[in-house]
Amino acid sequence: MSEIASLFSNFANITWQEAVMWIIGGVLIYLGIKKKMEPTLLVPMGFGAILVNLPLSGAVTQGSEVGVLDLLFNTTIANEVLLMLLFIGIGAMCDFTPLLSCPRMMLFGAAAQFGIFFTISLATALGFSLQDAASIGIIGAADGPTSIFVGSYYNTKYLGAIIVAAYSYMALVPIIQPPVIRAITTKKERMIRMPYNTNHVSKTAKILFPIIVTAIAGIVAPKSVALIGFLMFGNLIRECGVLDSLSDTAQNVLPNLVTLLLGIVVASQMKAENFLTVQTIMIIALGLVAFIMDTVGGVLFAKIMNLFTPKNKINPMIGAAGISAFPMSARVVNQMALDEDPTNIILMHAIGANVSGQIASVLAGGIILSLVPKL
């Protein structure tokens, strides 16, 4: 009888904090499945949140017994290996042709990183250390892997909250961006037409582009070489034309494999004692600020540019597509233009700004690594 009782003794170890984490895990699974919010990440993360918060869970380290999720975290994410592989996949999925046909769209990618730096300052004002603030601010990169990369680099204890915020807001771009854009633009501005010249881009230019970007970014911010280099390596595989099977693997199998592990391994950072804190709520709020200020930065920059080029005006909504949430942001902006005028299609410009946001966010991550010292 006592042996049977001992089988259930672990029930006594359940804490209310763990029960709350099960609910949070359940919510993440619900959002992923029912609302289709980044399901590839939120479903494994939700399940992982439950897994690591079972009392005395064998999935995470307990005393001297190493848990498999902690082991995987230390060998794949803490040393950035898994993320680098994911960057190859992202690079292979990116088509930079719309950017090469209209290079000035790159400016919006840069302007829309403003939210990152604004949030870093705000986080330090709220009492976070500079390293934690940098890890929080990078949520504004609107690029999950970059957020994980920077957070892991600074070994922040808030990694779980940062990742949940980053991926949740990426999925919420269609809800976050439109009201912000409407608040800072007029209807007349939203109706500005932008003729798209279908400038064809040569294959040679497309092949040289990733090599040149890597060289320039690497010389300016050497710490960004790993990030941008792997991204551009993936793009080179795509564009060179002689590695079709590798390109196919990099675009499909590789990201799927990495993502399969990423979500559940990242959940090892969602232990109740680390996650259920006031700081988590602050991080969730700061992440929203980062996305809003990215959008504001991009749109206002476009409006400033219009002051100098009155004959060749830019629809300021394009600036909002400069955040890296690809291709959702471009679609949102194009849809908003169509809502104002059903014949005004700005998709190609928006995609140009959106892919440039992908480069700029990785660049911003690299620049932060150069500017904020590791503890």
Binding site: P103, Q113, I120, A125, S202, K203, L208, V220, L371
Partner: protein
Amino acid sequence: MNSTFLQSLRIMGVGMLGIFVVTIVLIAAMVILTKIFPAGKEKKEKDSREN
């Protein structure tokens, strides 16, 4: 005003400036690339090889 906040303002200035500088260099590189290797030239070479 704590020193970390002031440091973060400096990071904001230098960081945004850094991104824009790299961006401008990249735009210049893209313009030069598409001028040196225009699509039309490649297409003509391909056509002449086919003929």
